[in-house]
């Protein structure tokens, strides 16, 4: 992967797609998701399902008695045979294709020079835990609840979106050292 980056197929790897064009295409992808499958895109559901599947393998008795895990493990087909899992698999492939085409494939830890990369990794880990916890409560993350909710004009989608961005602005000041 790093070799490709050295070759730099794209002369200017920092050039990103026009955000409005990207937005319109993403909007079409979202419409296609509703038109074909009757639902929006998502991401945070996958860790839930894979975790449920893992716990089910390690401690099958535990999942059967848990209201939370059994929702996923007792589904016909199991927690892994699910729309979302395939969609996120595609997401990873799609991201990789775009990164490869524009010469952005590289193992890095992107962080502000004011913090060490270890600190960045630690906070990324904490952020992941919080994001998944919040997404499980609110029944969706920025893609599933906020974006998908906006497409079908669901009240919950707008409430969740405002809470995510409101929360981020509220807490942004305390974590500014991480970024600026």
């Amino acid at each position: 992967m790093e070799k490709k980056d050295v070759k730099k197929p794209n002369p200017d790897p920092k050039k990103y797609m026009n955000p409005y064009l990207a937005g319109v295409i993403l909007g079409f992808v979202l419409i296609a998701a509703f038109y074909f499958s009757g639902r929006g895109l998502g991401a945070s559901g996958v860790p839930k399902r894979i975790t449920a599947a893992t716990v089910h393998v390690l401690a099958p008795g535990h999942t059967e008695h848990s209201v939370f895990y059994s929702k996923y493990t007792n589904k016909p087909g199991g927690p892994l045979k699910d729309f979302l899992n395939f969609e996120v698999l595609g997401l990873i492939i799609g991201g990789f294709i775009s990164g490869a085409l524009s010469g952005r494939l590289k193992f890095t830890v992107e962080h502000s020079p004011k913090i060490t990369s270890r600190k960045r990794l630690l906070f990324a880990f904490i952020g992941g835990i919080l994001f998944e916890y919040g997404a499980s409560m609110a029944r969706g993350c920025t893609s599933g609840a906020a974006l998908g909710g906006m497409a079908v004009l669901a009240t919950g989608g707008f409430v969740t979106m405002l809470a995510i961005f409101g929360g981020a602005y509220m807490f942004a000041y305390f974590f500014r050292k991480l970024w600026i």
């Binding site: 990103y16 797609m17 990207a22 937005g23 993403l26 909007g27 992808v29 979202l30 419409i31 038109y35 639902r39 895109l41 839930k48 975790t51 729309f83 395939f86 969609e87 996120v88 595609g90 997401l91 492939i93 799609g94 991201g95 990164g99 524009s102 890095t108 830890v109 502000s112 990369s117 960045r120 990324a124 904490i126 952020g127 992941g128 919080l130 994001f131 998944e132 919040g134 997404a135 409560m137 029944r139 920025t142 893609s143 906020a146 974006l147 998908g148 906006m150 497409a151 669901a154 009240t155 919950g156 707008f158 969740t160 979106m161 809470a163 409101g166 929360g167 305390f174 991480l178 970024w179």
Partner: protein, 196 residues
């Protein structure tokens, strides 16, 4: 008439292939728009880069208007689309926790997966955190179960909640989005983007 799979027009086996293709499109756009860099994403919260707002609201408004038009032409049965149920308390508290996760982690789950796919190790760490978060949620679920499941309003629509017609709300949504697109460069001009 859509949605094709819930109505049985396309066999359900295709759902996973379609999911994979939709995901590829989704991931491609996220990466190409620059969402694979946490610096671009959190710019929204510090005022130096509003690419998230541009892409997010363009996509949301396009999809919302598109679905209204699809409904008008009779191509899609809106009643059969999945509308997430509204649980006020859980949506607000969960959203605030996600906001906190956003400014600490720098990615949301979808962008985290996309960024991890091009080798961002911080994103990989975040994805690892997602799994741990799911496990913690599963273990603490009995404690918060009552709160999370209280106040279910069902799949209510925002235009009903606001007492507007669907068309008028979508009109406002597009207008607000366009207004924001004109406003944010004024902020970006004043805030310097950190260079790293």
């Amino acid at each position: 008439m859509g949605p094709l799979i819930p109505q049985g027009i396309i066999a359900p086996e295709w759902n996973f292939i379609i999911a994979l293709l939709l995901g590829i499109g989704f991931g491609y756009i996220l990466e190409a728009a620059g969402f694979s860099s946490s610096r671009n994403l959190v710019g929204l919260f510090y005022g130096y880069d509003f690419v998230v707002l541009r892409v997010f609201f363009t996509a949301g408004a396009t999809a919302a208007a598109g679905i209204v038009l699809f409904d008008y032409f009779g191509w899609i049965d809106v009643g059969q689309l999945y509308v997430q149920p509204t649980y006020w308390g859980a949506a607000i508290v969960g959203g605030l926790i996600m906001g906190l996760g956003f400014v600490t982690g720098g990615f949301c789950p979808g962008t985290g997966f996309a960024a991890a796919s091009i080798g961002k190790l911080d994103a990989l760490m975040l994805v690892f955190g997602l799994f741990v978060g799911a496990f913690i949620y599963g273990e603490t679920y009995p404690l918060i179960q009552n709160f999370v499941n209280s106040g279910n309003e069902g799949g209510i629509k925002v235009y009903d909640s606001l007492g507007m017609s669907r068309g008028f709300f979508t009109f406002l949504l597009i207008l607000i989005a366009v207004g924001m697109f004109y406003a944010v460069p004024l902020i970006e001009k004043r805030v310097k983007k950190p260079d790293y």
